[in-house]
């Protein structure tokens, strides 16, 4: 097996070092050209994947970050769409970014990753009748695509275009429904409490959940919460599968 020739190492390192570090006022047109292509590639992915972040950042700041990214970030993922993930990693180590902007970037990255995740959001169209005692032999499972995030702003899903971020402390569940739409909903303390008893992979029986909730929240209308959450695809409720000998 051949090792890379020394001259090849040298040629590649010199060329890519010039691309990464050459200033804008370079007299080497070929280097500037490749540098321009790469900056455009990175900028386009950032604009497309993180529209709110890009808008909030502004063009000049974005250009500066892209140059810093090109200069030194060790991008390990080969696919071009992973520029988005690499950029988030870069920003998480970039000390000069405001907490709100970084959170917005991470929020949009979760939306992006939810859109393309290979996990499947199974969903039963016919929800069991939980008020019918005979029909309560059911399993409950969290949407496998669900990710929960805490962010220092509220954000309105229905707003088209740029929406102002209202500072605060909010929890969101981001998930993909059976129509492949990416949704996010504000999670209340009750939502988080109930979801804490559920799993993405292992179903929880209705009986088990009800028993746990009755210990702590006797006045909670569990069935209404379950119905609402099933309809929004946050969870899936299905009849237990019977085992046949």
């Amino acid at each position: 097996m051949h090792n890379p020739p020394d001259r090849l190492r040298q040629d590649i390192q010199q060329f890519t070092h010039a691309i990464r570090h050459q200033g804008a006022a370079t007299n080497k047109l070929n280097i500037a050209r490749y540098r321009g292509f790469i900056i455009d590639n990175i900028s386009n992915v950032i604009s497309h994947t993180f529209p709110l972040f890009s808008f909030s950042l502004g063009d000049k700041n974005k250009e500066s970050l892209v140059l810093a990214f090109l200069n030194s970030h060790p991008s390990m993922e080969p696919e071009f769409h992973n520029i988005a993930t690499e950029f988030v990693r870069f920003m998480q180590n970039h000390n000069e970014t405001s907490h709100i902007l970084l959170s917005l970037l991470e929020f949009e990255w979760v939306i992006f990753s939810t859109e393309i995740t290979p996990l499947i959001a199974n969903h039963s169209d016919a929800m069991p009748e939980l008020d019918n005692l005979k029909d309560r032999d059911v399993d409950i499972i969290l949407n496998p695509t669900l990710q929960c995030v805490d962010v220092p702003f509220s954000i309105n899903q229905m707003t088209v275009g740029f929406c102002p971020l209202i500072p605060g402390r909010f929890s969101y569940g981001i998930f993909r429904n059976k129509k492949h739409q990416v949704l996010w909903q504000t999670l209340t303390l009750i939502d988080r409490f109930l979801m804490g008893y559920l799993d993405h992979d292992i179903p929880t029986s209705y009986a088990t959940l009800k028993k746990q909730i009755e210990k702590h929240l006797q006045n909670l209308d569990l069935n209404t919460w379950l119905m609402h959450s099933h309809n929004s695809n946050l969870i899936n409720i299905s009849h237990k599968e019977k085992c046949h000998d």
């Binding site: 020739p5 890519t16 280097i31 292509f37 790469i38 991008s75 696919e79 071009f80 996990l119 492949h180």
Partner: protein
């Protein structure tokens, strides 16, 4: 599923056309679609659903972006394995990539950069190509890229490529527009380049439009219609090497599916005139 024949013609799979490709009647002028596996592998949701639909209707060719065959880091084995699984799952026979590199010791640069064309690099590159071919269990088809940088003391491009083909057993994706762009930018005869390549190794052709800057420099943008000079060069290449599947690239200012398919038919008709060409015999 119909096979991809020497006379087949196709376009790249673009987001703009996905809905039409899934839901409208199969386009008779379209014999295959080309896609970048990196943009589709390990993805779910609507993308996966769309691809499953399209794969049932049209034969596919995979044309990758991230292999970086020419870099000096160990091959990204996980990535290549993922590509192989993707090719097998969708029954894709042809996997092409670029004779380029896109990674240095810092990391990936997300651009196709030219490999220094030195004799000493051929053995090293051939080893890597063979490794990839062993992993994906098919020939690796490599494209001649457009390049805007040259290293000192380089071999002529056709000689370098031919030596690599000979040593590695890889096949070639002959990009006619890249030959044209490079020949103008670096002042050499395009047909001399084309006729110096081994015919038997050419698996398929790319053709595309380019941008001419104010100073006359050409950029391989895939954003314009194919001009008559590139079409003429393609016709000569096909007359010399024989007909092969032809892919029309269009990545920017993408027209409607119907418009692009019409351009594909027109280009194919003009470059592959039946009276003057022989059907290729593959090895």
């Amino acid at each position: 599923m119909r096979a991809i024949a020497a006379t087949s013609k196709g376009i790249g799979l673009r987001n703009e056309h996905i809905h039409a490709l899934c839901h409208q009647p199969i386009v008779p002028q379209l014999d295959f679609l080309e896609l970048a596996p990196e943009n589709w592998m390990n993805m779910g949701g609507v993308k996966r659903e769309s691809l499953d639909c399209i794969a049932e209707r049209y034969p596919l060719i995979a044309h990758g972006l991230s292999l970086s065959i020419g870099d000096i880091q160990p091959l990204n084995v996980d990535f290549i394995k993922n590509v192989g699984d993707f090719l097998d799952y969708y029954n894709i026979e042809i996997y092409s990539e670029h004779l380029s590199f896109s990674r240095d010791k810092t990391g990936y640069l997300y651009e196709l950069l030219p490999i220094p064309r030195h004799q000493d690099n051929i053995g090293y590159l051939a080893d890597r190509i063979k490794q990839v071919q062993d992993m994906i269990k098919r020939p690796l088809v490599l494209e001649n890229i457009s390049f805007y940088h040259q290293y000192a003391d380089e071999m002529p491009e056709a000689e370098f490529i031919s030596a690599l083909v000979d040593k590695s057993g890889c096949e070639l994706l002959l990009d006619i527009n890249n030959v044209y762009v490079n020949s103008k930018n670096h002042n050499y005869n395009a047909m001399n380049f084309i006729t110096s390549l081994p015919s038997k190794s050419i698996r398929y052709y790319h053709i595309a439009g380019h941008l001419k800057q104010e100073d006359g420099f050409l950029l391989d943008t895939h954003g314009k219609d194919v001009n008559h000079e590139v079409a003429a060069l393609a016709q000569q290449a096909i007359q010399y090497h024989g007909i092969r599947p032809l892919l029309l690239e269009r990545d920017h200012h993408v027209p409607t599916l119907a418009t692009l398919c019409n351009e594909l038919s027109n280009v194919h008709q003009s470059v592959a005139k039946e009276k003057q060409i022989e059907v290729a015999r593959y090895a």
